[in-house]
């Protein structure tokens, strides 16, 4: 297990170095940054001075090394738009996105797994068929359309829930949370529903397919032949085998949620990192874009490693260091 962990961490470091390289190259592709930092009529000497101050006169690999070194300490320089530290900007926006993604992910699991089980155990029942049909809609409708529909129904017609913003937030240290106020919670509902819908239907369909597959296996037939109660067969014997592949997909999709959050945050004017990223793109604010890219990749890598570890916990066959018996 330890060897596995170390291997994974080394792999992750290489992935992050590659991502950092891409982020670093973004600066190059956006043209000469010196142009935008000096006056129109600056002399060559003035330009060179700025260049030297920014370290842009050094060889590329040294610049890359410096970029990585700083990034590792969370330093991505200043935003070109408002000259504030990029790390501060991201830190301000991070809690909003994290809470949104957390709630959406929680919802998709909490609803997706039971609904998947239900439709697998009673595939011919009316409710299962209805759910299957609804999930088809959920999976094929573009998320921004569902977002706009949600706003139309619950904000415009019914007036129950706010259509934009986070509501009131409470600061706990540097973290600002919307979980502690009523308006904060209400504001979370529509965006998290929109964000989780695709994920929810995906998990439901996946759990259903996996569960039906597992229920056909020999070990389930043998468990039935031993007279075990169906509750145990469904939830002890079948469910655990079902959840093993579901966890992988969920882990991969969790990264997807963060990426999809960009759309949700735009639709609901949610003050998260995704909205910050969209702003940065429209202003050509490369440091913010680069930092966002690196941060999201880091989250992806951490999640994937966690999923692999969890997999090993759930599936005894993958515990590499476990003692093997005589054959």
């Amino acid at each position: 297990m330890l060897g596995f962990l170390i291997r994974r961490i080394i792999q992750s470091v290489f992935v992050m170095l590659a991502v950092a390289l891409i982020a670093f190259m973004m600066f190059r592709f956006m043209g000469d940054p010196v142009n935008s930092m000096v006056a129109e009529n600056a002399t060559t000497e003035e330009r060179d001075a700025v260049r030297a101050r920014l370290g842009l006169d050094q060889p590329l690999w040294m610049q890359y090394g410096r970029f990585v070194g700083r990034a590792a300490q969370g330093d991505f320089g200043l935003s070109w738009r408002n000259a504030r530290p990029v790390s501060t900007l991201l830190a301000e926006r991070f809690p909003a996105t994290a809470e949104l993604v957390l709630v959406a992910a929680g919802l998709s699991l909490l609803l997706g797994i039971p609904l998947g089980i239900l439709t697998a155990l009673r595939p011919n029942s009316f409710s299962a068929q209805t759910l299957q049909f609804l999930s088809l809609i959920g999976i094929s409708l573009p998320t921004f359309v569902t977002g706009i529909l949600l706003i139309l129904v619950f904000s415009v017609w019914l007036g129950w829930l706010p259509s934009f913003g986070r509501g009131e937030v409470v600061d706990i240290g540097w973290w600002s949370t919307g979980f502690l106020t009523l308006s904060g919670l209400k504001a979370l509902v529509l965006p998290s529903v929109m964000l989780c819908l695709f994920q929810l239907t995906l998990i439901m369909r996946l759990v259903r397919a996996e569960m039906m597959e597992v229920l056909r296996t020999d070990y389930i037939k043998f468990a039935r032949a031993r007279g075990l109660p169906s509750r145990s067969i469904n939830f002890r014997h079948a469910l655990r085998n079902t959840l093993i592949p579901v966890i992988t997909i969920f882990g991969l999709q969790l990264g997807g949620l963060i990426a999809f959050a960009i759309i949700t945050e735009t639709v609901f004017q949610w003050p998260g990192m995704g909205a910050l990223f969209i702003q940065a793109v429209s202003f050509g604010d490369v440091p913010v874009m680069a930092a966002y890219l690196v941060l999201v990749s880091l989250i992806f890598v951490v999640i994937n490693t966690t999923v692999d570890l969890l997999y090993a916990v759930l599936d005894p066959r993958l515990r590499v260091d476990s003692p093997r018996g005589a054959h």
Binding site: K221, F222, A225, G227, P316, R317
Partner: protein
Amino acid sequence: MTLLSVENLTVAFPGRRGTVNAIENVSLSISPGEILGMVGESGAGKSMTGAAIIGLIEPPGRIAEGRILLDGQRIDTLRPEEMRRIRGRQIGAIFQDPLTSLNPVLTVGEQLIETIQTHLKLSHSEARERAIDWLRRVGIPAPEARIDTYPHQYSGGMRQRVVIALALCAEPRLVIADEPTTALDVSVQAQIIALLRRLARETGVAVILVTHDMGVIAETADRVAVMYAGRIVEIGQVADVLKNPRHPYTSGLMASIPRIGPRPEVLPQIEGAMPRPGNRPEGCAFAPRCPHPVERCTRVRPALEGTATASVACHLTEEVPA
């Protein structure tokens, strides 16, 4: 005294082109402690007979006709929950493939203890004692340590031993062993059969042993039932049937016993193939392959007739009763 009797059992599957009978008019009985061998080529209906007895026919299949009695009580009409209590406790099952019969994410001990506690009123530690005891009985070395390991840590032969322990741990009175050694190495097959035979003697459990291996039948079984195209065509004492087969299909089987190596799908000595359900001729299903059919064979389906100990379904034997 009869432990289990199957009377005139027909299992039907509704299909697109009408219902087909996977097995038809199957009758057999088994006494306590008896080992009944069951042979016949692939698709003959051996597994389906077992599934019907244990109450696990997969829908939409159903028992269309006949009945199944355990201790003289009908069990084919029990409610699912009542039948569940019989499975494992009265009638156990051992399947073909030990590699896939065990749940990969639960330890061997967890699977044994759960099965024991489902049927017997025992505390967890008592059930664990019993589980260790069963592992020892089926020949797992160091059962105290192995009980907490997972199936993938066992070899194929060892896993089949675990499967046998699981099937017997609630002390059923009948166990249906459906080709318990087909998936195993030849070298291990004999050990598993010997183990089954020993346990049957020790515990007095009756066994329905499905196999393609006539040698195993000869050594192990008391009686043998020969199935062909969903029907039992001959049933009787092993010694009689093997020495003196009366149904031409049984004779063919005897002639085609492969001495070594895997069994062939189509028996070389018998020309042609067994008809699929829904495709069976009006008369005797074996008539197209029979070496000496008479005119009646293609018209009238022969019934299984004979004494309590020896029966055969063939027109040729009717004139000359044994």
